[in-house]
Structure formats: structure tokens, C-alpha cells
Symmetry: none
Subunit: 204 residues, 4 copies
């Protein structure tokens, strides 16, 4: 059908813009990026962008939001593909690290602005980000709780432990992005899991 084709094309163009926007927003702060710049990079006229996105702000929040949804969905799918609790945790770390490694541009924005506080009008994005973050923690929490129930994990407050795990991952990611060493980020997986599972104290 004609309309379908239209829509398919529309979505392709839209995605192309989002992709360029991602690159550009990753290099400078929101306010240092101009709409003209994005239009130019994505090969559209300025006015045309406004057919895809209501405003610069919408473009930005959409880009962040959609990509983030993808990330969370992808990670959860990975995690859900294994059954064992410890394996799930390992997959979680792995999936996180891989996403970061494959989406450095995007992560530079997002990790930079941990839950962010942009324009007063962007409150809804901020809220979504926080919600998504807490949803994700809740997802991790669920796994941890199973682990605790199974006697695999110590009986600690699962929410806080989930948060700790996510931040351990972030720790490795920050290092990797701030001080590129050539080594794959994924290589940090075992280290993260080791610390997370065993802590740093020597037990005789």
C-alpha cells in the first residue's frame, strides 16, 4: 500500500536524523548544538526537521528516550535468555558493557547526564529517565531477590544492591571512556563480577 510505503520512508528518515543527532549531541552540550547543525548533518532542510519533531527539545528527548528503551529492552532480553541467577547477573554485566562499547557516543551523553536536569521544560524526560532507571534497578532487584531466596546471595537490601551493581558497571565504563586504553570494555566483566560477588577483603 502507498501509505505504508510513506510511513516506512518517514521512519527511515526519522531514524537517520536521530542517528546524526546522537553523534552531534554526544560531542557538545544540548545548548551548543544548533538545529541547523543537525539538519545539515542529516541532509535535510531546517524546516524539514520540524516535520519529524515538534521542536529541538522533542528531538533530543526522543533520541535519548528511544535509545534508552532499546538499551533496557536489549539488556533484559539477554538476561532473560538464561535461567540461572548467577548467569543472569553475568549476562547483565556483559550486556551492559557491550551496549556501552557499541554506543559510546550515546553513552557519553547519557552517562554524562546521569538522570540530568536540563531545561525546566524537560522535566518529563527527566522523570522518564528516573523511572526507567528505577525500573531497571527493580528488574535487577528481582534477580537478586531470587538469588537471596535460593541461598546464593547474602541477605542484603536488594534494591541497594542492584543500584550498587549498576554503579560498579558504570565505574568501569567511566574509566574506559575517560581513559581509553585500547582494551575492550568487556574485558572488565570478570573483575566487576568478582568485586560484586566477593568484595575486596581477604578472608582467610
Amino acid at each position: 500500500m502507498r501509505a505504508e510505503r510513506k510511513e516506512r520512508e518517514f521512519n527511515l528518515r526519522r531514524a537517520a536524523i536521530l542517528q546524526e543527532a546522537e553523534k552531534i549531541f554526544s560531542a557538545k552540550s544540548y545548548h551548543d548544538v544548533t538545529v541547523a547543525e543537525i539538519a545539515n548533518a542529516s541532509g535535510f532542510a531546517i524546516g524539514s526537521l520540524y516535520q519529524f519533531f515538534e521542536s529541538k527539545e522533542h528531538l533530543y528527548t526522543t533520541m535519548i528516550s528511544e535509545k534508552l528503551d532499546l538499551m533496557y529492552a536489549g539488556i533484559r532480553a539477554e538476561v532473560n535468555s538464561v535461567k540461572d541467577v548467577l548467569a543472569k547477573i553475568a549476562r547483565l554485566v556483559e550486556a551492559h558493557l557491550m551496549f556501552i562499547e557499541n554506543n559510546t557516543d550515546f553513552c557519553r551523553i547519557f552517562l554524562r547526564g546521569e538522570n540530568d536536569a536540563l531545561s525546566e521544560m524537560m522535566t518529563s524526560l527527566r522523570e522518564k529517565l528516573i523511572d526507567d532507571y528505577f525500573n531497571h534497578i527493580a528488574f535487577v532487584e528481582g534477580i537478586l531477590k531470587t538469588g537471596i531466596k535460593n541461598g546464593l546471595l547474602r541477605s542484603l537490601p536488594a534494591h541497594a544492591v542492584g543500584s550498587a551493581l549498576i554503579h560498579l558497571i558504570r565505574s568501569a565504563a567511566s574509566e574506559w571512556m575517560l581513559r581509553p586504553s585500547g582494551e575492550a570494555l568487556l574485558a572488565k566483566k570478570d573483575f566487576i563480577l568478582d568485586i560484586f560477588f566477593n568484595g575486596v577483603k581477604k578472608h582467610d
Copy 2:
């Protein structure tokens, strides 16, 4: 002497402006804050701000920079005031948490990490921030290395472990700032240390 008094007054006003700026910058992003707003909030005329700070950018970077120096210095002083390695680590966590608790506005800006990607002229701030961050990690690293030598800690890459510890603290801080529960942040100290030292796995 007259000049002394002058200088004292100058510094008081300067500090007052920085304090207001901190509040304001914590609520919105750099670009959404106007100089007029800061001037107004701190009870000065627009032009007067420019006697204390060369530009909006200088005001911002100074605020971040000075406060951060204070934070790092304070934390290290606390840590240095005890001798035992494990006590040092405990103090580190405690001092971090207390600073965050007492400087929520500031930390909202700083943890937000927006500092990463502002104007190209702010590169020097970004560099300082990263330097300071790595210096701090190096400081923690030193403590950890002693602990490893003493046989108190497992023999893990100290830099990465230091980074992990800092992010564990950040994990608790994010939770606390994002979901205020009324509970003091400091209450998370033992939990952080527990995870950090022992990990989450149950060892029989």
C-alpha cells in the same frame, strides 16, 4: 587596616554570590541560568557580578572548582586523621557521604556531570575535573595498596578497585538524591562498606 577589611568584605560578597549561584545552577542547566538571575538572587546588580567574576563562565567554573577542591581536601584530611587501613576506608566513605549530605545542591550539579561537555572554552574545567577525579582515585589507590601489602585486602588492581569504591558511594548518593527517604545518607555507610569488603555472594 582598611585594605584588610575591604578584602574581607569582598570575599564575603564573593562567597555569597557563589552560594546563590550554586543553588541556581543546581536547579537548571548552565545555559538556562541567566546572569541577571544570579545577580538578582544574590542581591547585586548585574554589573556588580562582573567585579567578582570575569564572566558567567568564570563564575561557574570557579564555583565548581573551589568547592570541589574543598571537598577533596576535606575528605583527605579526614582519611589522613586515622592510621589503620580499614579505618581509613571507612572514613573515606563517611566523609564522602557527609559532604554529599551537606552539599546537596552542589552535588546535584556535579554528579549530574553536565560539566563534561559545556563550551569549548570550558575545556580547562573539564580537564581539572578529570584530573582531580583521577588524583582522588590515586589517593584511594594508595590506601588500597597498603591494605593489599598488609594482607588485609585481596590482590586486585588497585586503581579499578578505587574507582569501584567511589562509584559504590555514588550509587548510594544517587538513590538518596533521586528518592529522598528522609533517612540520613550517612546511614548507608555500613552497607557500602559491607558490599565493598564482602561482596554479595554467600560463602558457606
Copy 3:
């Protein structure tokens, strides 16, 4: 072609702005003219001016520079259209006077000489102005030297004589602009030539 039409229109608008700017700059000093004023007078929005000219300074220097080029080119073309030395000199005076008469606004700025000492960024305009001036004198010098060689003119330092001639013209122009008498400026031509050629002393 479409692009051609675009460019033609662009140049028309650009010229219209320059024309208005000329009028406005002729009435007050550079710093007393606002961009808003020029925009308003030429029927554009403030921002639109910036599509034609990088900055207020560029607008100003462009206006001066282009018009001056036109003036010098026009005068030389006139002069070159006759062969005889004395006729060339007469044409030079005539062309100068006519340009001034037809471009009073512009000359008010230019003769005012304010261009000398504006912003340090305008050094290049000042240098161009001085260069152009000396080039023009050199052009006149060339004619005078021929006249001297031909035995038509006294053997005097040609550069200084050229400068004298230009200032004699300027003398008449100043009078005419400062004390408008209704008489055409061109009417002064013979007087200027008489003084220039014969001096004021009575020779018996």
C-alpha cells in the same frame, strides 16, 4: 535559473541595506548607530542583517570599502578616457567633484575621517583606506610626472603636488558641504584648476 535569481535578489537587498546604512552612518558616529536602527531603516529584522553581513563592523567596513573602490575606479576611468595631461587633470577634478556631489552622505562619513581610529579590529580598514589614498595619489602623481616631462608643468615633487591637488578639491568640498549655497559643487572646478595651475600671486 533559480539560483541566479536568488543571488540577484540577495544582492539587491544587500545593496539596499548598504544604502540605508550609508545614510545613517553619515548622520552620526559609528558607535551612535545601532544595528536595530539600520535593520529598521532598511525594513529587515535585526537577525536578517546578519545574513548579509557578519557583524556591525563588517557592514560598516564593507560599505566604506565598496563605495570607495567604486569612487576610485570611476574617477580613474574618467581620467583615462582623455589623453592630454591638462585634460586629465581637469577630468580628475571634475570626476571628484561629481562623485562628492552625488554621494554627499557617503562623503560626509569619509571626509569626516572617523574611519581612522575605530576599534582595533578595524585596523585593516584603516590600512586599506590609507593604501587606497596613497594609490590614488600615486595615480595622480603619474599624470603630473608626464606633465613635467612634457614641459607643461613645473618641476616640483610630484607626490606632494598630487596630494595638494586632492586637498584643493577637498577644500572646495568641505566648503560646499559645510555651507550649502545651492550652487553645484561642480561649479568650483575652474576655480580649483585656476589656483592649482596658476597660484594666487599676480605676475606682471
Copy 4:
């Protein structure tokens, strides 16, 4: 008397300020000079300048005006000290050149802004400058008329001839200021007089 001493001191300070102002205004345009700069250079506090001059504008116009009065008065005194018409003219040229040579800073301002067109509020200065200029021309005119009556000079419109003479002087001065050659400006006296009296045409 006390009051006299006061006034003497006041005038000295005032003169000192005017002198510094002259230097500073000669280097940049009116708007690029700040009151603080003049205050600083003359060793007074900003506020103190306002006891001597109502405003920046008054300071500027006063400086121009007083110095110009001095110039005209000095030149006329010189000219009046000789009786013969031709000698008077020679003295006029000489005195002009000497003033310019001894007051290059000032002349850079004044010659730059031939009759000027500064702020709309400076109309009165502009008017005074024009008046003074025409008065001076009138003075020269008087001499020339005597010369004509005496049969020494050709019977030309005296006003225009006066203006021509002044511009001939200006011609030499411009050259000298724009292209410093090390030679004294005064050296141009004979050349100016030669052109003025005899013109450039060779008469057999």
C-alpha cells in the same frame, strides 16, 4: 588668599587631566576611551573627574575646544606680528605647521575628525568647530583681501582662496602624519607657499 590658591590648584589638576585625555583620545576613538582610563592615566579617582567635568562628553569637548582656541589664537598672534601681506601668509603657514608639529597627538584627533559628527548631543561642539573654522578662514580672507587690494594677489574669491590655503597646509600635514619621514613638517613651508603663490603650471 586661600580661595585663589584653591583655584590655581584646581586649574592645574584640570589641565593635567586634559593633557592626559588628549593623549588618550588621540590613540583611539571617543567611544573606545573609557572614563576610568582617563582617570587612571591622570592619577585621579573616577569620581574625581566629575568635579572637573560634568561628563565624558564635556571633558572631550572642552579639551578639543580649549586647545583649538589656543591654536587659533597662537597662529593669529604670530601672523599679526608681521605687517607685510606676503610675510603674513608665510607666517600663517609656518605657525600652522609648527603647531601641528608640536601637537601631533591633538592634531591626530582634530584633523581626523574634520568638523566631526560625534554624538547627537555634541552638536554644540560641532557648531563651535565649524564656527571657529570659518572665523579662521575669515581671518585669512582679510589678509588675502588686503593682498588683492595691494595688487599683490590675483583678484580671486578670497574666502575660497583662504580655504584652499588651509587645505594646502592640511595636505602637507596629512602626508607628514600618515607617512612619517623623519623630516620636520616645517620643511614643507616653502613648497606650500610656492604652490599657493605660483601654481604648478610652467609659464614661459
